[in-house]
C-alpha cells in the first residue's frame, strides 16, 4: 500500500488520508450507500432493477464482492467522480445519502448506473 506522505504531518491535524482503497472497497462503498437506507433504496430500486436483497444483488451483479475486483469500464476515476454526490452527508457510510442524491447519481452518470444495473458498456 502507498503511504500518503504528501500530507504528513500538518494536514493530519484535521483530515489526513490513509492509503488508496482497493477498487473492490470503493465499489462496495457505493453499494452500501445505495442500499443502506430505505430512502435511497426506494429511489434506485426500479432503475437498478433490484430485488428484495439490494446489497447481495448489486455485489453479485458487479462482481466486487471479490477482493481482486478491478474497475475497467467505467474506470475507477469515473466511479469516484460520480460517487461524490453520495458523500454530501459525510465520508462515513453511517450517513446514507438522501433520495435526491441517489437519483442524481444515476441520472448524472448513466454509464456508472449501467454498470450497477448489470448492462454491458
Amino acid at each position: 500500500m502507498r503511504r500518503p506522505l504528501h500530507c504528513w504531518p500538518l494536514v493530519c491535524l484535521i483530515a489526513c488520508s490513509g492509503p488508496d482503497a482497493p477498487d473492490a472497497a470503493v465499489c462496495r462503498d457505493v453499494v452500501v450507500r445505495l442500499c443502506q437506507s430505505a430512502a435511497a433504496y426506494s429511489c434506485v430500486a426500479v432503475q437498478l432493477d433490484l430485488g428484495l436483497s439490494c446489497e447481495a444483488t448489486l455485489l453479485q451483479r458487479t462482481g466486487c464482492e471479490d477482493d481482486a475486483f478491478a474497475f475497467t469500464a467505467p474506470t475507477r476515476e469515473r466511479v469516484l467522480e460520480c460517487r461524490e454526490v453520495l458523500l454530501s452527508r459525510g465520508m462515513s457510510t453511517d450517513h446514507p445519502p438522501a433520495c435526491a442524491d441517489a437519483t442524481r447519481f444515476l441520472t448524472g452518470c448513466p454509464d456508472v448506473a449501467g454498470f450497477f444495473r448489470g448492462s454491458q458498456p
Binding site: 504528513w8 504531518p9 491535524l13 488508496d20 482503497a21 470503493v26 469516484l80 465520508m91 453511517d94
Partner: protein, 303 residues
C-alpha cells in the same frame, strides 16, 4: 527544513514584547560652579546722596552682569523590564508541548491501520490513529515550544537595570549692574502731573537739586539723553523721602497750630509724625524741632 523551523522559532521568540517602565531618581549633588558673563547691554543708572538741603543724583552707565549658579547631580535611570503574561505563556506552552511530545513519543501505541470505515472523494481510506496522533503531536509542539521558549526568554530578560548619568541644572540666576562708568548728559525730569521742568545738564556725572527746587518740580521719572534711568529701590525711597521732607520742613513749626490739629485731626498728625521721623534719616535735615513739637501736641492731647 531545519533552517525554516529555526527561523520560525527565532521570529516567535525575538518578537516577544517586553514592557519597560522607566523612572528617574536624583542622586547627590556632585559639584557646583558659577558662570558670569556681561550681556553688553549698557543702561543708565542713578544713585542718590543727600546732604540737606541738597540732593545729588549721580549718573552712571552700567552693563548687566548675569551670574548663573549651576549644580551637577548624579541621576539614576532605573528601567524595569517585565511581562505579566510571560509566566502564563510558559505554563500554557508547557502544557501544549508536553501533550504534543507525549503524543509523539507514544504514537506507536496507536493503531497503524487505516480507517476503513470511510473512503474520501479521492478513493483513499481515512488516516490511521497513529498518523492523526503524530499530526496533533507535531502541531501542539509547534505551538507549545516557541511559547515556552519565548516565555522563558521574557522571564530571564525581566528585571531591573540601572544607568547612572550626570545632569547639570541651573540653580539660580542673578542679574546685577556691573562695570559702572560715570556719564554726563541731558537729564529730563518727566512724568509729573504739572508742566514738564526744563532739561538740565549734568556736571561731572551729577545733578544737584535743592529742597526748594524739588518742591516746585513735578516729576516721577528720570531720563538721561532720552533713555529712562533706573534707580534701585533704596535710591527711589531716598528721593521720595527728600521730596516729602522738602515740603514738610518748608513750613515753620507752629506749636499752637499743631495742638489744634492734634485735637481736630489726630490721625493726620500721627501720620505727619511718621513722616517727620523719616526726615531724621536724611543727613543734615532739621526735622528734630518739628518732631518734638508734634510729639508735644499729641502728648498734651492724650493728657
Amino acid at each position: 527544513m531545519k533552517r525554516l523551523w529555526a527561523a520560525v522559532l527565532m521570529m516567535a521568540v525575538g518578537c516577544a514584547p517586553l514592557d519597560v517602565e522607566r523612572r528617574t531618581e536624583r542622586g547627590p549633588l556632585l559639584r557646583t560652579w558659577s558662570q558670569e558673563k556681561a550681556l553688553n547691554e549698557r543702561i543708565p543708572f542713578a544713585t542718590t546722596q543727600v546732604q540737606w538741603p541738597r540732593l545729588t543724583l549721580a549718573f552712571s552707565s552700567s552693563d548687566i552682569c548675569r551670574t548663573e549658579q549651576h549644580g551637577e547631580y548624579a541621576e539614576d535611570i532605573i528601567s524595569m523590564h517585565g511581562n505579566t503574561g510571560a509566566a502564563a505563556e510558559v505554563s500554557s506552552g508547557g502544557v501544549l508541548a508536553v501533550l504534543g511530545g507525549t503524543l509523539l513519543v507514544g504514537r506507536s501505541l496507536f493503531s497503524d491501520t487505516p480507517n476503513r470505515s470511510a473512503i474520501d472523494e479521492q478513493g483513499r481510506y481515512g488516516a490511521s490513529s497513529r498518523d492523526v496522533a503524530t499530526g496533533w503531536g507535531l502541531g501542539l509542539l509547534i505551538v507549545g515550544v516557541p511559547a515556552v521558549v519565548a516565555g522563558i526568554v521574557q522571564v530571564s530578560r525581566s528585571g531591573e537595570t540601572r544607568e547612572t548619568r550626570k545632569r547639570a541644572e541651573l540653580l539660580s540666576l542673578r542679574e546685577v549692574p556691573c562695570e559702572p562708568k560715570r556719564v554726563d548728559g541731558v537729564v529730563e525730569l518727566a512724568g509729573g502731573p504739572g508742566p514738564q521742568p526744563p532739561p538740565r545738564l549734568t556736571l561731572n556725572g551729577a545733578l544737584v537739586l535743592t529742597a526748594d527746587e524739588i518742591q516746585r518740580l513735578s516729576f516721577s521719572g528720570l531720563a538721561l539723553d532720552g533713555t529712562p534711568v533706573t534707580l534701585e529701590e533704596e535710591d527711589l525711597d531716598r528721593l521720595e523721602t527728600f521730596r516729602t521732607c522738602a515740603t514738610l520742613l518748608a513750613t515753620p513749626v507752629d506749636p499752637q497750630a499743631l495742638a489744634g490739629e492734634a485735637r481736630s485731626r489726630p490721625d493726620r498728625l500721627r501720620m505727619k509724625r511718621e513722616l517727620a521721623r523719616g526726615c531724621t534719616t536724611l543727613p543734615g535735615a532739621p526735622a528734630q524741632p518739628l518732631l518734638e513739637a508734634i510729639e508735644g501736641a499729641l502728648g498734651s492731647t492724650a493728657l
